[in-house]
Amino acid sequence: MSKTYKAALLEAMQEAMDNNPRSLIIGQGVTDFKGIFDTVKGFVDRYPDRVIETPLSEDSIAGICIGAALNGAYPINTHIRADFGLLIFNQLINLAAKYKYMFGGLFEIPCMYRMVIGRSWGQGAQHSQSLQSLMAHIPGLVVVMPADPKSIIESYRYSIQKYKGPVVMLEHRLLYELNFENDETKLSHPIFGSKLEIEGTDITIIATSVMVLEAKRAANHLKKNGISVELINLHSISHPDKKIICKSVEKTGKMLVIDTSWPAYGVCAEMNRIINEYKPSILKVPSNSMGMVSTPCPTAKALEEMYYPDVHDICKEVIKMVKKDGSEINLPKKISMTDFYKHFKGPF
């Protein structure tokens, strides 16, 4: 049985409403006919008290979620673009992340902030950012970037039913419509840790979110050409599984980190810290980082294509890292990720 990413989100939200009477869905557009890209569509009719449309007031709504959590609710606050999430950074970082610690454990703030990240289609500088590293730097926040339906189901369930603190879920816009085959792997811990996606021997790729998919495509292509990629899906950006990361790089001697954001001060940087604090000698060649080009995101499609790395670029980098001369290996065609994933013809 296969399932789309957004169907999994819908399922997770449905389960939240049905199995946890404290759940509250709150944000702009949660009651409209689009229902946050179909993930809470129609909910307001079934749970009129617990699905709350809001004014355009991100800051106070984030704080309202904290107060709601204090009074026993489990608020799920949606942000159609993580870029607008910058408006809640005071509440998220100064308040939600610190509430439990600052008061010596007197309070807990179980809640979820769902933010949509990443490119879709000509979104430009203010509708495309992946701000995970800003949040992952902050103790007290759990930041998760689910890359497939199964991780969604597991991690949302755990957050909503078991975890007692704020969780930031970053959902990639490009993944929503994608169909995934049923996947038997299980996360050892749904909101902490990472997942070994593919075992291999020549190089370790650590990827986040949609880049896990691109890396898989690259790994498939490379496999046919005799290069064996080990792929780690980072999943919990704030609490990655250092053991599987170090073990893998120790085996392959090579690390390529592919993130949805800028490399500097981001996931790419943190992975290198993890390796070097463990044992730098396991890296047999320089590590490599892929992510957005170090500029704001341009709107023009022609520039966007250069801005984001894709399967073509990944294969190119891997070949460089693995073999001195990869001239005999064909690169996959440079097809736009948005064209490949097909669903961005629409305006948004």
């Binding site: 702009q28 409209d32 006919f33 355009l56 408006l87 979104q123 509708h127 500029t295 022609a302 305006p347």
Partner: protein, 308 residues
Amino acid sequence: MESLEIYKDLFYQSLRIRLVEEKIIELYPSDLIQSPVHLSIGQEAVAVGVCANLNLDDWVFINYRGHAFYLAKGGPLPEFFAELMGKKNGQSKGKAGSMHLASPKQGIMGASAVVSSTISHAVGAALISKIKRENRIFVTNFGDGALEQGAFHECLNFASLHKVPILFLCEDNNLAVHSHKKERQSFTLEKLVGSYGIPFHEIEEGYDFVKVQKLSKISIDEVRNTKKPVFLKIKTSRYKEHVGPGEDFSAGYRDKNDINKWKKLDPLLQDKKLYESFLGKINNEIENAVKFGLESPLPDREDLLSDV
């Protein structure tokens, strides 16, 4: 100018904007424009009527729904199409796209796709203008949804406190995406604005560019004369979906009749004669502009890396 002349001139400008946007709708399925578009169809009279009272050196700060203001304030059309097509000869080399139009030569000072986020820019520019003792005014244009952002309130306070020459211009189409004002707002805008000591004016007939021009002149003159903030709300009506080239009446969140009533009052739809008389000239200009866009080269790696 005679009032008929004024009518014709404003009609021409409004129609030009509408036809430009209709051209966008026509082009959109071809994927020549690969970026979200927030159309102003139905709202053109606001931009045209207000900008008719602005000087070249008056600055306007706009948002993602910026086509109408960009054009009404004099932004060049060929560079507009090139921009929307993501081309190198676009106003911003294609980096901006539809959501971030700007043209400083004509005083269009940049659009943001984050609701409410350019209001403070207008206040800041006006503050400096006051300090420099310049003689010009500043306009910040935003939707009814922007009124809910804390930043807007902070701006009212600061602008009034420092007495800066700014027009707060609210384009009230009663909608923020699919949500109606009454689901979002508990305040009476007039009273709210009044509590800051800022004069409040309202224009109900946002379809009527002549009325908008005449009545907004009062507000604009008030800013020029008092050198203090004034608030102007103009009721208007968005014919299309929030974002994208289509209509979405079937979605059920709003009543097509409301729009139909408005359309009955819309001169661009009613005055068929004048419409016909301008069509050729405008379409000609548009075709040339589209051609300019089509022929423009794509931006390249150097463009990607510059301007950081």
